[in-house]
């Protein structure tokens, strides 16, 4: 974005925030490509990027009256878009955890594949995962083993939270072992 274009966009944001309703459509049309560019850079799926950009647009207009006129409005818009990307990623991760897609992922890697290279990789990866799980406390091992084998947890517990904590600890151990 050129400095002139940035200034123009900033000016539109300030005008609209100040109460000039006529600035809405030009501002909207100018902001959409900016937000979409930010979200597209962070998300590979076009649909996800558009989804995040739409949410960012709504959040931005919802908070436009609080616009700080001394600061760069474009940077503010990009921050909102980045935050929406983060939120989208987090909710996707939560969905994956809730539906046990990690298990599918691990199983996919561990499943017998036609090529010898993939087989070796899958075996090594599976061994590495089990070794990392082995370093965790017994309670986490139980949760993760149940996840990997597809078994259900005790109904008295909160499975999602337990799984989440166990996975967090597994991530820490994984990072320590493999960087």
């Amino acid at each position: 974005m050129t400095p002139a274009r940035r200034r123009e966009l900033n000016g539109l944001m300030v005008r609209f925030a100040d109460g000039d309703r006529a600035a809405f459509r030009p501002l909207f049309d100018a902001l959409w490509p900016v937000l979409l560019a930010v979200t597209s850079r962070a998300l590979s799926e076009r649909a996800d990027a558009e989804d995040a950009a739409q949410r960012a647009m709504l959040v931005l207009f919802h908070r436009i009256v609080d616009l700080d006129r001394e600061r760069d409005g474009v940077a503010w818009a990009a921050t909102i878009a980045a935050y929406e990307v983060m939120t989208l990623r987090r909710s996707a991760q939560r969905r994956r955890e809730a539906t046990g897609n990690h298990e599918v992922h691990v199983q996919m890697i561990a499943a017998p594949t036609p090529g010898p290279y993939e087989q070796v990789m899958a075996t090594e990866l599976s061994a590495a995962v089990h070794a990392a799980v082995g370093e965790l406390p017994a309670r986490d091992q139980e949760v993760l083993t149940a996840m990997l084998s597809g078994a259900t947890l005790d109904p008295g517990e909160t499975p999602r939270k337990r799984r989440f904590r166990a996975l967090e600890r597994l991530r820490t151990v994984w990072r320590k072992r493999h960087g």
């Binding site: 100040d18 109460g19 809405f24 909207f28 919802h62």
Partner: protein, 180 residues
């Protein structure tokens, strides 16, 4: 594919609802002023009517434009000076004069009005869209002052409002001449 027109409508609604919410926040200040005025012995019905008019006016101004936001802020602060004077005086034993007469309490309220008017002119000078801000802030300050001056009666209230307006204009003219 994103329906941009639909998204634009949603964004416009989001912006307007947020603007309305921001505008209605003035209810906190207006309610406090009204409660103080009633607690200090002001008549309930006139106080409530004035508070409603003040809330409607300030909310509309804040929703309309940023200049309205600034005018409301300035008007409420400056209007609070004569309002508090009108509220505090009866508590300090300074009683109002009989209807149609001018006593100590009215005089103090008029002085507070003069201070508020001068403040309006000076502070409006620093704002963007000075004329509109000054004019609207004076209206808001007048309504705010009226809330506290209901105990003074019509004479005291009219004198306070007149003093505020005259002093505001009197201070504004030299400021304008200096600026030009």
């Amino acid at each position: 594919m994103v329906d941009l027109d639909r998204l634009a409508n949603k964004a416009r609604d989001a912006a307007e609802s947020s603007r309305i919410r921001m505008a209605c926040r003035t209810v906190v200040a207006v309610t406090s002023f009204c409660a103080i005025a009633i607690a200090a012995g002001g008549s309930v019905v006139p106080c409530l009517c004035l508070a409603f008019a003040l809330f409607a006016g300030t909310a509309l101004l804040r929703w309309w434009h940023r200049e309205g936001v600034e005018a409301v802020r300035l008007g409420l602060v400056m209007g609070a000076v004569p309002m508090l004077a009108g509220v505090v005086l009866p508590g300090c034993g300074v009683n109002c004069a009989p209807p149609g007469q001018f006593g100590e309490a009215e005089l103090i309220c008029v002085l507070a009005g003069i201070v508020a008017g001068a403040g309006l002119a000076v502070f409006a000078e620093r704002k963007r869209g000075q004329w509109r801000v000054w004019f609207l802030a004076t209206l808001v300050a007048g309504l705010t002052a009226s809330l506290g001056c209901t105990t003074l009666g019509v004479t005291g209230l009219a004198a306070t409002l007149l003093a505020m307006t005259v002093s505001s204009v009197a201070v504004r003219i030299p400021l304008l001449l200096r600026a030009s």
